[in-house]
Subunit: 207 residues, 2 copies
Amino acid sequence: MTTTIAPHRSKGRPRFDRAVALERALGVFWRRGYEPASVAELCAAMEINPPSLYAAFGSKAQLFMEAVEHYERIYWDAAWERLADVADVHEAIAGFFHDAVRILTSQDAPCGCLVILAATNVSAESQEVNDALKALRKEGRDWFLARLQRAVSDAQLPAQTDTDGLAAALNTMLEGLSLQARDGASQDELTRIVVVAITMLPDSPRR
Amino acid sequence: MTTTIAPHRSKGRPRFDRAVALERALGVFWRRGYEPASVAELCAAMEINPPSLYAAFGSKAQLFMEAVEHYERIYWDAAWERLADVADVHEAIAGFFHDAVRILTSQDAPCGCLVILAATNVSAESQEVNDALKALRKEGRDWFLARLQRAVSDAQLPAQTDTDGLAAALNTMLEGLSLQARDGASQDELTRIVVVAITMLPDSPRR
DNA sequence: GTTCATTTGTAGCGTCCGCTACAAACAGTC
DNA sequence: GACTGTTTGTAGCGGACGCTACAAATGAAC
């Protein structure tokens, strides 16, 4: 991954490397959560001062939302794509959950998923952040649902499968895994959980 | 449920009703979470002033831990007992999860479980609170595990059942349900999820 | 009725928070 | 080298936080 080269066209003192700073902010938000991550701590990690942060990102909330977008793109987009691409639904779901385990334990400190955990128990003041994350969490369920519905029409799942309930259950499991990860569960422990979790998928109908 | 009558033995001005105040504090912590619930907000709900709160409960953190104990006793003890008491493991697990759905949606506002959610993303200062809750969350898995092991020795589950993994998966599901509840899922939605969740239990072995 | 232990309400402490005014530092333009 | 536009670092604002000093208020003991 190469940073886009912005060869400094404008006048004035050159700005800090925005991409690097965003990456470091993501790390702080991920490990600490949205509110516990203070602007002072973010600035220290980003190696800039508050005025630079506010000039470049607007506010702590906007910086967080940019970090979330970056996080989704870097860590989850590929996993959701594989879920859609793998032809067999059982393989696809199993693969997705193993991807998830890898992502959730990819940081040094126990963290879980930024979208699921970073802004729980957030003050009412930053309700926009909460709403945006809630929408992202709902997206997860929708992706599961779309994949399951395709599996039913492909006759990989029984026709009477409650795809809504099953999608919600898989999403619940995914979100629960974040809590386990934050509580310090190891990659092995999470793997044993997902092995059980994927048994929620009904067997393929008899052919 | 009657409040214990403490007939005011000591000298001095009589103290406010501690039990009522604790109940109201629980409500605030439950609906808002640990850190978003400010001492000012707690005092307003408890109808006392800060010095009274600190004289009676010590600190915000200690008040919270007392509220958690009260919460566990009032809302969850019966459910865990039923899990242990019901003879058939499939019935017991199903019953427990339906109890859980009822508890998680028992408040007017979307909340989830105090133990699981109220102190996620808590500042490092109150690490004791986090550790205590983490221990409580682990207890849930242990109760599942004990029930599953009994079911295996009762030949209600296959002998080769991965009871550790299954207990962890059930606990993950339970914790995930709290997140769904906090995101506003209705009782019906949660019920459809647990119907799927309990399919993680293997069928009884052939007799 | 006086005494005295206890709780109460007021008022505010110190601290950290997100955020910003301001002037010095810098890098291109001419 | 003077000018100009941008970013930088310092230093601090207003406000919310958890918590507490203090004196007035209360009610049992005598």
